[in-house]
């Protein structure tokens, strides 16, 4: 039996509430699974859905976005804007064959270290149950095989184009 599957989850956290909440968890020496790797943005309103897709495309097993509680946003209502994107993104991810447990938007304030731990733990558990996010999915193998099989000759030809030179 190989080692237990340890998911890699990208956490995108706003600077003022959730990143600070994660800091507080650390300061309070609250232990939680090490699977979430945190990327800081100033506001959850900054989170472009492309970031979430990018994380999955890079092989993340889950993405956790977290911001200030509604009405508490440091920038007034950036978190509401993320909520709007989240609602649509959830449907889109489902259509793209990604299980809903793999993406989550939470509200964690700067004094909610315990809550941060709770969300991380819940998410890690849920993703562990699902297993790894398949990358490459089977049809991608074709492409990758092709890339591997590309002889240097072809590449040179391909790179050699250019009119009038």
């Amino acid at each position: 039996m190989t080692k237990e599957f340890e998911p890699r989850i990208v956490g995108i956290l706003c600077n003022w509430c959730s990143y600070a909440g994660a800091d507080l968890a650390g300061i309070s020496r609250i232990k939680y699974p090490p699977n979430v790797r945190i990327v800081r943005v100033m506001c959850s309103g900054r989170v472009d859905p492309s970031f979430v897709l990018k994380a999955f495309a890079e092989g993340a097993d889950g993405v956790l976005v977290s911001g200030c509680h509604p009405v508490d946003c440091h920038y007034i209502e950036g978190n509401y804007k993320m909520w709007a994107r989240k609602v649509m993104l959830e449907t889109m991810l489902q259509q793209l064959g990604i299980e809903p447990e793999r993406f989550r938007l939470t509200w964690v304030s700067a004094n909610e270290g315990e809550l941060f731990k709770q969300y991380v733990t819940e998410m890690v558990d849920a993703v562990k149950k699902l297993g790894p996010f398949q990358k490459p999915v089977n049809w991608m193998t074709e492409l990758l095989e092709h890339e591997r099989s590309l002889g240097t000759a072809v590449q040179e030809i391909a790179a050699g184009g250019g009119v009038g030179e």
Binding site: D23, G26, R37, I38, M42, D48, S50, A55, Y75, K117
Partner: protein, 650 residues
């Protein structure tokens, strides 16, 4: 970028704080193999002088041009290391921090897992840092004049304090006189001193100080610019009286033939003329013509006031005038208005003559009021019994959910005055008696001893049976239904946001809370600031407040404004939004997204334009920019995506 990227990575042990759980040497070793990394070290304390020196030395000697420190939270030491870089000439934004203490060593059990996670975070920082651009903090000039909107007690206090700090201040008041609601009150709780006696001197001082400019009968029309540099357009409504020529003799008022206009300032308890001053102590004590009711304006005939004026001050041709003034800070002190109890027919206001509001009663008991201080029924008789109903429109989901805060104590004051003036039966119908201020509970105690009938139960309904007013309630302490016959009912109507609050919020780009009042930046720690830099709040425009609180806030807001303008310069963070005009399609999605109105639309170029002084750098606009034209400095799409690749590389 032609320059070769040379990254220095510094892994901090933080004593044993990090090193206990993270194999710092292994992380440094790992980092040294990452692309573009020139040096990678681990060290006991990076934030201490020797640690800082290590970085400086590498920058100078090894030509390091990007710095990554893996230590604590950037919320802690990011500024420290930025300064280190800047001290040797490297831009502070060529620096990136990996948080391996709060986010790794302190929250992870397993050493191996912790080391792994630390590597991922370092890899991400190393991946990201080459994409970072040099950014510079900038400063804008600061105008040191202050605008106060609203000339009630809070605004007056704020203006006088700013003026006392030797700064110029302008008060804009929409009514013909400053003074606000306080000017209408008779006595003030809990000390029962006369309201006019303590307010009038302050009003006069506003008129007399050289560095205070009054715009009465005026409104703020437009606000442009940003903190330190607001340009405000003020509409001076046509007063039809030349303030420079008028001496305030009042002859015009005595001769005006139109005398039957409901006197709003007297809460419609009496009438006034078409040319009038709202009250005897008005500042400026000069009349205004109410054009809607003036015969000259409605019929073209009359003009008696102009004929009798000894100084030729009446000017029928006067027009609204727009003036533009520049300010560094704005204080909003627009106060409140009284809830209209006729919205709830059960209270009988508007239906029965002798059901009146608290402010009407206040005018009645005022010696300079319409009844010369006598409490009188509509038929001219003195009431033998008076009911005072608390919480009319307050603490009621059907109207306002909040508590209006000052009415309980005000009701006690009115109960006292009613008892004193009529010696009749005075009933106070209350839900909870909330006398929270200094001396207020003592005041309650005092009023109780005066023989007022306190009934704990909301005065639910006022009905008339056989010509007698009845207040229906439950005496909840007895658990008995009661119908109390009274001659007069005083409704303690709720304090609610003024009608123009919404419009002003838009003009100023400040927020309102769910109750409609202006919203403070933080309910505890920033009660006087708004989320828009340079705009402050005081008094009841932020929520129900009594006089002591309004005065305290007025002084506080003045202090906020003085502290801001005294700095002389406005610091602008370099983390802002920037729009690439070549890419911007002009879709305008971002413009509404910005809570600070920092983005505008350039009609000519058809692109979005960011006012960096107003922008706070949240990046919400870039998060929804469909073309990628809008970038968030230090948090660009490319930087964040590379960082995501980085955290997943391990």
């Amino acid at each position: 970028m032609s320059e070769e990227i040379k990254i220095g990575v510094y892994v901090c042990h933080c004593g044993s704080n990090i090193a206990d759980k993270v194999d710092c040497a292994a992380v440094a070793e790992f980092a040294s193999k990452l692309p573009n990394v020139t040096v990678a070290r681990d060290f006991q304390y990076m934030c201490a002088d020797p640690g800082q020196e290590l970085i400086r030395k590498d920058i100078k000697e090894q030509g390091i041009n990007r710095v990554v420190v893996a230590s604590c939270s950037p919320r802690m030491h990011e500024p420290t290391f930025r300064k280190v870089c800047e001290s040797v000439g490297l831009n502070g934004y060529f620096f990136e921090m990996a948080n391996i203490r709060e986010h790794v060593s302190w929250c992870t059990e397993d050493r191996e897992a912790a080391t792994e996670k630390a590597k991922a975070l370092v890899a991400a920082a190393v991946a990201r840092v080459p994409l970072q651009e040099p950014l510079y903090e900038r400063y804008a000039d600061m105008n040191d004049r202050v605008l106060v909107i609203g000339g009630g007690i809070a605004g007056i206090e704020a203006a006088l304090k700013v003026s006392g700090g030797n700064k110029e201040v302008v008060i804009v008041e929409k009514e013909p006189s400053i003074g606000g609601t306080m000017a209408k009150l008779d006595k003030t709780f809990p000390t029962l001193d006369c309201s006019a006696c303590i307010l009038t001197p302050k009003m006069v001082e506003c008129a007399q100080r050289d560095n205070v400019k009054l715009y009465t009968y005026s409104e703020v029309e437009k606000v442009d610019g940003y903190v330190g540099n607001f340009t405000v357009t003020i509409r001076k409504k046509a007063r039809s009286v030349d303030l420079d020529k008028c001496t305030g003799c009042g002859l015009c008022i005595t001769k005006c033939p139109t005398k039957d206009i409901p006197h709003e300032w007297e809460e419609n308890l009496t009438t006034r003329t078409a040319i009038f001053t709202p009250f005897p102590q008005a500042v400026p004590n000069k009349p205004v013509i109410d054009r809607e009711n003036c015969r000259y304006f409605t019929t073209g005939k009359c003009g008696i006031c102009a004929k009798v004026c000894p100084t030729d001050a009446v000017d029928f041709e006067q027009e609204d005038e727009l003036v533009t003034e520049d300010f560094g800070a704005i204080i909003v002190a627009t106060g409140f208005e009284l809830f209209d109890p006729s919205v709830g027919p059960q209270w009988g206001f508007g239906k029965f003559d002798n059901v009146i509001t608290s402010l009407q009663f206040e005018r009645m008991v005022n010696a300079s009021g319409p009844t010369k201080g006598k409490v009188l029924l509509k038929n001219g008789e003195e009431p033998k019994s008076i009911a005072i109903l608390h919480c009319i429109g307050s603490r009621d989901e059907n109207y306002h959910e909040y508590c209006s805060r000052f009415c309980c104590t005000a009701a006690l004051k009115l109960a006292h005055l009613a008892k004193e003036k009529t010696n009749g039966d005075v009933y106070s119908f209350y839900i909870d008696m909330r006398t929270f201020g200094k001396g207020y509970e003592e005041f309650y105690n005092r009023i109780m001893s005066e023989g007022i009938h306190f009934i704990r139960g909301k005065g639910t309904e006022v009905v008339e049976r056989k010509g007698q007013l009845l207040v229906r309630t439950e005496d909840t302490l007895l658990g008995k239904y009661r119908e109390v016959p009274v001659d007069m009912v005083v409704l303690m109507a709720a304090c609610q946001p003024g009608q123009d609050t919404e419009k002003l919020a838009q003009t100023l780009a400040i927020q309102r809370s769910a109750d409609g009042f202006f919203l403070e930046a933080h309910p505890k720690l920033e009660p006087l600031k708004t989320a828009t830099d340079g705009i402050f709040l005081c008094g009841a425009c932020q929520g129900p407040k009594d006089i002591p609180d309004s005065v305290a806030q007025g002084a506080g807001a003045a202090s906020e404004a003085l502290s801001l303008i005294s700095a002389g310069k406005v610091k602008i963070s370099p983390i802002v939004a920037r729009c690439d005009e070549d890419k911007c399609g002009g879709c305008m999605i971002c413009i509404n997204l910005c809570p600070y109105t920092a983005i505008s639309y350039d009609e000519e170029k058809k692109v979005a334009v960011v006012n960096e002084a107003k922008c706070k750098g949240c990046g919400t606009c870039s998060g929804s920019c469909p073309t990628g034209a809008m970038t968030n400095t230090n948090f660009t799409d490319e930087q964040i995506m590379t960082q995501i690749e980085g955290v997943l590389a391990v």
